[in-house]
């Protein structure tokens, strides 16, 4: 015998229907608002996207509808969904924190997920190209592995013996603050891409580039680290190739003051050891080496 729906089931069903009706109605209202409001009006924009496998390819135009709040990565995904299913693009967090969606938008290295369409002139095609400093793999994807190889060449963090018997260290917040800035790096490699030493002269083997100089600065200026990396910086890391264009600072999505706070202080430490005869004489007289000097007079 079919007893039919219970009172409770009827109640649940009516609530579900009401909710569904609400969702549909609010969706319709939102759609109506977006159709009538000038700010959220859907319109078409053209994206000139690099397509190709390896070093050769072409810039291909794709038109897609755009609306308020969209970023370039949204448009690329939309193009992928609508017309170019085989378009290769690397992305992950869509929040400017993973550093995966680096590309060149209208010629400037930027994160696609952090570039709002409202910042761009959509009257003209928006150019989206892969980073030119690295070997292209496919479409917008490049091989950035050279950065990880270069990172291995930097001598790793080497702390002084522990300060306390329990094997821990003590350091002042003020000393940690300076290197804290460098820890914001998300390794998007936009700074490496914009650096003309890597981009135009392809000196990846001789010059580690801004990102890795930031990493070196983070270690070199660390209040606990006792290694002296100035010889490496001068010789194998090629800090002398940097001619301070400050392009790396301009493109950093984390606003790290790469040139002023990392590269130039490192250059000055190289000057201390290699190009300052007067300073060298003073250190000789006082019997202190470079690492002692950086750690302070107390060691």
């Amino acid at each position: 015998m079919d007893a039919g729906p219970s009172v409770r089931e009827k109640k649940v069903s009516s609530v579900t229907e009401a909710l569904a009706r609400n969702v549909v109605e609010s969706g319709q209202r939102a759609a109506a608002r977006s159709d009538t409001s000038a700010g959220t009006e859907k319109r078409s924009a053209t994206f000139r996207v690099w397509r190709g496998a390896g070093p050769t390819g072409e810039l291909r135009d794709y038109s897609t509808s755009v609306s308020e709040g969209m970023v370039v990565l949204d448009a690329i995904h939309q193009i992928q969904a609508e017309t170019a299913g085989d378009l290769a693009v690397r992305w992950n967090c869509k929040a400017g924190k993973c550093g995966s969606c680096s590309a060149e938008i209208n010629g400037m290295p930027r994160l696609m997920c952090m570039t709002r369409l409202s910042e761009l002139d959509l009257q003209k095609p928006v150019t989206v190209e892969p980073m030119r400093a690295f070997p292209p793999v496919k479409d917008l994807v490049t091989d950035v592995s050279s950065n990880f190889r270069a990172k291995k060449r930097i001598r790793r963090f080497t702390p002084r013996p522990p300060d306390a018997p329990d094997g821990t260290w003590r350091m002042a917040q003020a000393d940690a603050d300076r290197v804290q800035e460098f820890r914001k790096c998300i390794e998007c490699f936009l700074c490496q891409d914009v650096c003309h030493v890597l981009r135009d002269h392809h000196l990846h083997e001789q010059f580690i580039g801004p990102r890795l100089l930031v990493h070196a600065a983070q270690l070199e200026m660390h209040p606990l680290d006792i290694l002296d990396r100035t010889d490496d910086l001068k010789e194998s890391h090629g800090i002398g190739y940097c001619n301070i264009t400050k392009c790396c600072t301009k493109v950093c999505p984390e606003n790290i003051t790469i040139t002023d706070n990392a590269i130039i202080p490192l250059k000055e430490r190289v000057v201390d050891k290699h190009y300052d005869p007067l300073g060298k004489l003073v250190r000789l007289v006082r019997g202190r080496n470079s690492a002692d000097r950086h750690q302070g007079e107390v060691r």
């Binding site: 000139r48 810039l59 292209p136 493109v251 000055e268 007067l278 750690q295």
Partner: protein, 268 residues
Amino acid sequence: MGTEVVQLTRRGFGQTSRRDAWWVQPLVAFIILTAFVVYATWAAFQNKYYSFGNYLSPFYSPLLYANSPHAWIQGTRPWWVPGFLPFSPALLILPFPAGFRLTCYYYRGAYYKSFWADPPNCTVGEPRHSYRGERFFPLVIQNIHRYFLYAALVFLVILSHDAYKAFFFFDRNTGRQNFGIALGTVVLFVNVVLLGGYTLGCHSLRHLVGGYLDRLSRAPVRKTTYDCVSCLNRGHMRWAWLSLVWVAFSDVFIRLCAMGIWHDVRLL
């Protein structure tokens, strides 16, 4: 759907996908720096109209050899300068501030772009294929910047003294120096403030006063000095341009007053 075939290889000189007027910044830097160098060279060789009453042009300060009340040593030229060479007291001192600016970290980046197109601007193609950076002669000499800084600090003290002297005017009736402020006083005072902002925000100074230390907190005086220099350093570009333009203007002001074309206005 349009198609444009492009090689993803090195771009030629001036080639870029940038849409903005990327050439404006290096062009403006080129024009200002060229105009400054041409004017400063001309003014240095003039050897006249460099002082007006209690004012001394910053291009000629310190005035080492001259027949002038501002001169440290009275005379037309030092004995060791051959007679056939053109001489001006400015030529003895200008190499130091010129060297300071030439080797300055900010100016280096600016003139590599605007004079050598190395690169012309960020992500814009370069004219040359080879690149050696600052690793070899002659650009490795840029590393002596801190020595020019030492000289610039001495110049800053001397120019501050000049600005101080610009507050005192000779009274013909009493034969004494009276305190006062005129347009020239303001010009020389602003000049010292701008040069101070530029010199004391120098990257090398920032390093020397404490930047070289990893544990700066253990040296509180150095820490405070480092913080002050860092504060000025954040606006180094602005200080660099303003002080450059104003130092030239200070010379123009004093020159035109000395020539009788402009007239100094007494404010107090």
